[in-house]
Symmetry: C2
């Protein structure tokens, strides 16, 4: 992504696709928002599908990178999970248009692109699955089905990009903290923990 024009098209596409969906967005409206005429887009991207794929690929690559880095700093499964979830949430609030599109438009990808992005999504989920596996072995976590717990966890956190707004009442850090608390302790666990702690 060298030229600034290409970046503008990329960002405006993410915003437009988020608002109206990939199939509900026309190349003309995208061009209009990016400040050029319809045909000019094809100098920067070979097709509308090409733009969608760029958004998806960039997002998955960014997520993989950020979460792997966050996890690498830690050794305990609990700290790894906290860091991973925070990184996931930060990315989903900072680049919320792109992550929303990456999450909602899987079905709009053509076959080859779909295969590639699905592979990256699988690698991404694997990071979380591995952490929970470690947590079970270390005895600090307890779930019946790791795959199910991973899906549930990610769906809950990904959902933030559906409603989060930077103008909202709560700063990102607080939202992330509360999601971590919910994931670790649920709506009841904190009571049991206080009993266990004798507080």
């Amino acid at each position: 992504m060298t030229s600034t024009r290409k970046i503008t098209i990329f960002k405006e596409a993410a915003r437009l696709f988020r608002e109206k969906g990939y199939n509900g967005s026309s190349q003309r409206e995208l061009a209009d928002r990016a400040g050029l005429q319809g045909g000019s887009i094809y100098h920067h991207f070979s097709s509308k599908q090409d733009i969608l794929y760029a958004i998806m690929e960039d997002t998955m690559r960014g997520l993989l990178h950020k979460v792997r880095r966050a996890v690498a700093e830690e050794t305990s499964p609990l700290e790894k999970l906290k860091k991973a979830v925070r990184a996931h949430i930060e990315y989903h609030t900072e680049d919320r248009d792109e992550t929303y599109v990456a999450d909602a438009e899987l079905r709009s990808l053509e076959e080859a692109n779909y295969q590639q992005i699905t592979r990256m999504r699988h690698d991404y989920e694997q990071i979380f699955r591995d952490i929970i596996d470690e947590g079970l072995q270390a005895g600090c976590m307890k779930v019946d089905d790791v795959l199910l717990a991973t899906k549930a966890l990610l769906q809950m956190c990904t959902g933030i990009s559906y409603w989060y707004s930077p103008e909202g009442r709560k700063p990102i850090g607080e939202i992330a903290d509360q999601y971590v608390e919910l994931l670790l302790w649920g709506v009841c666990g904190k009571m049991a923990r206080e009993v266990a702690d004798g507080s």
Copy 2:
């Protein structure tokens, strides 16, 4: 929904919209799947948007009805939450095409329809918000922000309609049980509970 033909179009539309999205689905393909010619659809529905609205309205009404009934049987907040979540999950697996569309195509609704469905969604979320509020007051639940917890909870459970398949390895009842466990206790809470119980 009197005629069987209308029901067929309704069901096929839910399936098609789920697969390709509202804007990615053509009236002709829908007609084809429902076993009639393009123009014939307009004898049963006045427009494509009308079909989408029917799916959304029917789904929200069904969810409201089912979850309210489930909650009405119980008095304790904990049992209410369990029943409500199970009802939500059951509905999302039984009518997974409709619930998927109802969840994913909000942005494809025209203004007046959007307002109506958003109102129903608000009422639906209110049921869960009220239960958690009761739980806090009764002292059997503990969360920092009820609104945030409600959103997180529903997003996690709604996500089931994105991956659930009736041919899958796990029966619905088991999936629902494990989601309830996760929501109540998180990935760590069950350890603390065992300590508290002295087991």
